[in-house]
Assembly symmetry: C2
Homo-oligomer: 469 residues x 2
Amino acid sequence: MSEEFLSHCRHIVGEPFVLVAAADMAPFLDDWRGRYTGKALAVLRPADTEQVAQLVKACAHWRIPLVPQGGRTGLVLGSVPDESGTAVVLSLSRMNRVRSIDAVNRTMTVDAGCILQHVQDAAALHDCLYPLSLASEGSCTVGGNLSTNAGGTAVLRYGNARELCLGLEVVTPQGEVWNGLRGLRKDNTGYDLRDLFIGAEGTLGVITAAVLKLHPLPKASATALVALATPRDALDLLTLAQDRCGACLTAFELMSDVCLDLVATHFPDLPKPFSRPHGQYVLLELSSCESGEHASGMLEQAVAVALDRGVARDAVVAMSAAQSRGLWDLREHISMAQAKAGKNIKHDISLPISRIARFIAATDAKLRDAFPGVVLVTFGHLGDGNLHYNVAPPAGVAHDEFLRNQEAVNRIVHDQVDSFGGSISAEHGIGALKRDELNRYKSPVELGMMRAIKAALDPLGIMNPGKVL
Amino acid sequence: MSEEFLSHCRHIVGEPFVLVAAADMAPFLDDWRGRYTGKALAVLRPADTEQVAQLVKACAHWRIPLVPQGGRTGLVLGSVPDESGTAVVLSLSRMNRVRSIDAVNRTMTVDAGCILQHVQDAAALHDCLYPLSLASEGSCTVGGNLSTNAGGTAVLRYGNARELCLGLEVVTPQGEVWNGLRGLRKDNTGYDLRDLFIGAEGTLGVITAAVLKLHPLPKASATALVALATPRDALDLLTLAQDRCGACLTAFELMSDVCLDLVATHFPDLPKPFSRPHGQYVLLELSSCESGEHASGMLEQAVAVALDRGVARDAVVAMSAAQSRGLWDLREHISMAQAKAGKNIKHDISLPISRIARFIAATDAKLRDAFPGVVLVTFGHLGDGNLHYNVAPPAGVAHDEFLRNQEAVNRIVHDQVDSFGGSISAEHGIGALKRDELNRYKSPVELGMMRAIKAALDPLGIMNPGKVL
């Protein structure tokens, strides 16, 4: 049976694009973090939407589950198959064409397999900005960005991947092509299918193309690192910066002394902006559509007012692009410094912004109670309410030993998130990794509606089974 | 049977809130435009979400269709019952409480029956802006705004109602309460049910409350009316203004000589900004989070560059709030001037912005061909690609006589919209009025998915039947 299916697939995409040898399939089966490897019946590599449609029709006919895959940079096992070996991987990596750019409409129509960085570059050639920006932008694809509703560092100003998409092309679980590639800012003609497929992690259909929303390219930006005593002060600084700078505020990233110490230990060549510790730090970036003077003038004034009011304790304003890069390096090396320090227990959570300071205080206390000496490496996109709340072992405790507490640590952190009205997955999604957590924290009413929609659109259950639901 | 049902309803909400007398029901049955009156078994007026849930359970038990209703200001017969008299109207007007405001999180949680203007006012008391702004803001409600994904004059900067909502509370067609009142900027935990209910026009459930997204209140704004030769020039001005002013650009409204002449005829006291006709006009507004000088300086520079490059032919920059009000009055009196001039055939359409000039030229020509002497009253939110494309009779032709051509005119306009990749309903929705048009222009694949979702969530078909689908 499966030979018949594979032979039909070869007929559709051509012999070289149906991979079945273990060595050929291996690069498509590994989890990005290297902690898991799945098995597959085959890896299928279609060249265009029509081939995707025919492949999905074949999967429906033979009842073969399929796992859509983009750049495979997800962190929750959403784009790799399980260990049964019964599913096929549908890789969209060959579909990487920018179909068109419309600079007046500020839209760009691209294949789902386009790499994010190529999209950013193509937009810039037309003096436009595609603002989505992630650590994995050199490898991740538009289809994956949309299927997981990716976040990143520009959400505060421009929104998540969801807000940056105007239309989709999707192959349904029946193998039909839905052409929803509309480049419209306003369209109230029926149910919002676009947003249903965005963030569905490939469980409702295969996104094959998208119309992306572009923005004017800012003329200049200005960066500062502001030292504060507490997360509560950081919230005051956020309100102050938003009131004064409005949409010019493009980044607001929180990090603690623990984070900067880690970076200083593992990357001693990076700048050390302050001579003594202050507690917390905010990396603040403004962008201006007018000029560099406008951006830096506004930033200096905002920082001066924050110092004057006692919200900030000290501040460093970057005087050059290189200095700005240096400040961003501190922020962006936290994860790498953590990796060098050894394994820890990570949480990608979000909270109502106003509750973040209380959440950190209360959750830190609970963890210190349960695990005396535990090290809390907390940083993140404070302007979006998104924390990377990571828990490292006490000094002297082996990392692997500490990781045995993962379940207990998750329970404390996620119970706290739940009681503060937050989300257990802010930007990474659910995949296979957080499915049990989803079942624990979502209401039965919400899970019931999700299951009803899944059954209605994918009655055979062939689309990325075992993910999300 | 219906007596048993009504008696149960009285038990739930109390005798005074189950209206059955014709005179009591009348104010809930008229279409806003006064062109249609429906019939109902009763009008139900619940006090809170729990009562809504019990009423919907009763409707499901007795198989009584229900029509959720907010301020009843919709223009497509979405919130009034049909003429069968078998449905109940579920009015949310008693549920008008602002539940809470969180100025640091910039969110506000409100009952669905809150009037839009009250929400705007409550936000302003906390130095925040709820940007949604519509002609009917004194009557329309949050629930209606969200169920129809309302647009208005601030979409260019702040988005539609959809982009201004972070969470919902919904009573499902089974009478269960979904508490999705999350105030989070990032949350990737499962399917996007929020956006599915937004814009569903009450056919999938009853929105009973929402978490609305607030913005910092701008410090000042500046307004200009710019005269141009053609819609093509208006597109050039849009690109220029977006590049120079970025997110400070908060309105970009197009209108033609025909529009200003109509206003001058019927409202002779309003200002006449230009001594001679130019063809087209753009009302351009900037807002600044910094100062009035910043807003007006940026505006004056943008206008100067537009004049210098020959994009603009002339311009009036408002030097006071009163002058700004006068310019907005011109824009806002077009619909009223049209009403005084007599009936016309209206279209609420959107297009890719880059195609608008070609669309107007081609569609004007087709209509003039089919109906020599026809008068085209075209204006709208150009920055959103949204045109109010209205067709009035040739001089000397009676309005009622001309309206007999409605079907033929709609066919020309909507066929053109379809061939230019536009939408036949930009902000008003589908309701009962445009259902046939939806069936004509949506693809069978898209309609099929919509019907599958409707059947999955509302298998008894009791939620606002005959609307949208």
